[in-house]
């Protein structure tokens, strides 16, 4: 009897151990992290930067499943506003993914169909919804979800008569001006006044073509020209406003090898691309469909095609990647939107799985973030410390190597700087370090150079004088001989 009891207890113990639910760290993560080498652009395998924290479905919140949730946005309090398009409602959850409230989209006591709505944005007091196929932007009161007004197709001289207004994504700046990405509109981002009055097209992409293409176009007939891809600028996929009021804009395909633009208030592209690799995801078939501006001028882009998220820093260096198309937690089926939460966490919305996956940072990513934070705050000594810690995790990380090299350069340690610049293939900086070393060498050894020059000059003079003396003597001797004759 005792034996039986013991064995039952033993079995129960085993079960209790195995029945502990596996935490996120224990599960297999369906992706790996990589960046690109500055030296030759090859892939550098890196430690995981982000791991999945939780996945939330509509039924977890107790309000029934989401249906085609197409976009979400966070407000300044960190609350997440989910555009649950298929259900015609907006769901609000707090930053810990707990249900807060929701409101249906009701106009004149009638629930409207917004199943094709593609974008949502939240400001201080309003919620903007892009009702794409109905060519309008709906504005709701943020506090109680009561319909305020709608913005229809803008009319202006600059717009065609048959201009199709298909708002897909919208961002609102601090003045309440709207920046609208309209599907199929390649003339630029639409800049609208708060009441919907059209101001201008903004940050248009330039037509990209090459001389060879134009050459062949000259020889093709009208029919052939029609059959070929038209020469029109790339249209936009997403837009976000960063903390400094700059517009972060993505295009589906790369413009001058870059899929991201940072537009200043004048519409000029001011994105920094110091990296040898351009801002174009995996360099092959990436297509950025959403962008979110994060803290410390970081920005993350969502590659919908491959289900990957790429994070770049202010200088355009790829910091890390994560996410994949997979069935496990952390994998996507059809991700449509990403946004930053607190603590650098990133939430991703999957329209087909109708779920939100939240990714949290690892220690590796935390170190990079800290280094980047000090870097942007111009605290270079602290930043260097952190970059050195990053190298302990990943000794092949080109950005960290370069930043440490720059620090050594500024401290006047050119020999060390040279070493680091060589490691990360920063040829121009490497040459600068060498130039400093050369001038240092010349400065320290100028006495040798001067001595050598003086000795040579002295020797030359000595030889010349000796020669002329010799000649004079010979002349005198010749004269004497002449006289004696």
């Amino acid at each position: 009897m005792k034996k039986l009891l013991v064995s039952i207890l033993f079995i129960a113990l085993i079960f209790s151990v195995t029945a502990v639910p596996a935490s996120a760290e224990d599960t297999v993560i369906p992706y790996t992290n990589f960046t690109y080498s500055e030296a030759d652009g090859s892939i550098v395998e890196s430690p995981q930067a982000y791991i999945p924290q939780t996945t939330v479905y509509g039924k977890d919140l107790g309000i029934g499943d989401f249906l085609y949730p197409s976009d979400f946005d966070t407000d300044t309090n960190g609350d997440i506003y989910i555009l649950d398009a298929g259900n015609g409602r907006v769901v609000v959850i707090d930053t810990n993914l707990q249900y807060k409230s929701h409101f249906d989209c009701i106009i004149n006591d009638e629930k409207i169909d917004i199943s094709t709505a593609q974008g949502i944005t939240v400001t201080q007091d309003s919620v903007y919804i892009c009702d794409t196929d109905h060519s309008r932007i709906l504005v709701f009161n943020k506090a109680d979800g009561i319909f305020k007004y709608e913005i229809g197709t803008p009319t202006a001289v600059a717009l065609d008569d048959n201009f199709l207004f298909k708002p897909a994504k919208v961002s609102v700046d601090t003045h309440g001006d709207l920046y609208v990405v309209s599907n199929g509109t390649y003339e630029g981002i639409l800049n609208l006044r708060p009441d919907g009055e059209f101001v201008t097209f903004f940050a248009a992409n330039k037509v990209s073509t090459d001389a060879w293409d134009l050459f062949w176009r000259n020889f093709s007939t009208k029919k052939q020209r029609k059959a070929r891809v038209a020469l029109i600028p790339q249209d936009f996929s997403s837009i976000d406003i960063d903390a400094n009021g700059f517009l972060m804009i993505t295009t589906f395909t790369a413009v001058n090898d870059s899929m991201v633009k940072r537009a200043n208030p004048g519409g000029t592209n001011v994105i920094r691309t110091l990296s040898n690799s351009k801002i174009n995801g995996n360099k092959i078939d990436s297509s950025f469909s959403d962008i979110t501006a994060g803290p410390d001028r970081l920005y993350s882009c969502l590659d919908r095609k491959n289900g990957k998220i790429y994070t770049y820093n202010n200088d355009g260096y790829l910091l890390y990647t994560f996410g994949a198309k997979a069935a496990q937690q952390g994998g996507f089926k059809n991700p449509t939107a990403i946004t930053y939460l607190d603590d650098y966490r990133i939430a991703a919305l999957d329209i087909d799985r109708a779920s939100i996956t939240v990714f949290k940072t690892t220690e590796y990513a935390d170190t990079i973030h800290l280094a980047n934070k000090y870097q942007t705050n111009l605290e270079y000594d602290k930043a260097t410390e952190q970059w050195e810690r990053v190298l302990e995790y990943n000794s092949n990380f080109s950005l960290a190597i370069k930043m440490i090299g720059i620090r050594h350069f500024e401290a006047g340690e050119y020999q060390l700087a040279k070493k680091y610049f060589k490691l990360c293939n920063a040829k121009d900086m490497y040459s600068d370090a060498r130039q400093e070393l050369r001038s240092e060498w010349i400065y320290n050894n100028s006495w040798i150079i001067m001595t050598v020059v003086l000795v040579l000059a002295g020797f030359y003079l000595y030889v010349r004088i000796k020669e002329s003396v010799k000649k004079r003597k010979e002349k005198q001797r010749a004269k004497q001989q002449m006289r004696s004759r």
Binding site: D428, R434, Q435
Partner: protein
């Protein structure tokens, strides 16, 4: 040995008197194949030094991918190819030069590149980014000089006019490309036939 030294000394005469130099090489047998072979060796060695020894800033290719054997094979192959193509062409076009003369002419003409390789590589340790123009300039000068010598040498040993010399040189390059294509095709054919024979033997061995 003295013959070899005399042949190498003749290079400097060619540098100062290109037209006369090549003519004397042909008519008075001043050059010899031995010295040309030494030049080929020097060319390979100095090219290796240049690729391996150049300062990091001026390196254009990835050192990790460099192979000495591949470089040596490429240089020897190109030289042989040039000689064959030039000989075949000039035989048809009333050229008076023999095969060994063509080989010597080519090797003597490439000497400026050898001459520039070592000091240029050494200078990269002194140059920084701003002086990169000098690097390109010296490099370009050596190549232009070599091509000029090739042109004069081709003219002298085949007793051609200037225009005919240029034409044969261009045609030589075309012929080199043609030979490469033909060799690849022939190699492919041989491989196919070999596989075919192999399969027949296999088939027979199963039947018997």
């Amino acid at each position: 040995m003295s013959e070899l030294v005399a042949g190498l000394k003749h290079i400097f005469y060619i540098f100062s008197h290109p037209i006369d130099g090549f003519w004397v090489m042909k008519s008075e047998k001043k050059g010899n194949v031995k010295s040309a072979l030494v030049i080929l060796l020097l060319l390979t060695v100095t090219m290796t030094y240049r690729i391996v020894g150049t300062e990091f800033y001026f390196q254009s290719e990835q050192l990790a991918k460099f192979s000495f054997l591949l470089l040596a094979a490429a240089i020897v192959l190109l030289v042989v190819l040039f000689c064959i193509a030039n000989w075949a062409l000039t035989t048809l076009m009333d050229g008076k030069g023999s095969f060994s003369e063509i080989f010597m002419m080519l090797m003597y003409s490439l000497c400026p590149i050898i001459l520039v390789n070592i000091p240029l590589t050494a200078l990269t340790y002194f140059f920084v980014a701003e002086e990169a123009t000098f690097y390109t300039l010296f490099n370009a000068v050596s190549i232009v000089w070599a091509v000029f010598l090739l042109f004069v040498g081709n003219m002298s040993i085949h007793e051609y006019s200037g225009i005919k010399s240029i034409a044969t040189l261009i045609l030589t390059v075309v012929a080199m490309a043609g030979i490469i294509v033909l060799v690849i095709l022939a190699g492919n054919l041989v491989q196919t036939v070999w596989l075919w024979l192999g399969s027949i033997v296999k088939e027979l061995s199963y039947r018997i």
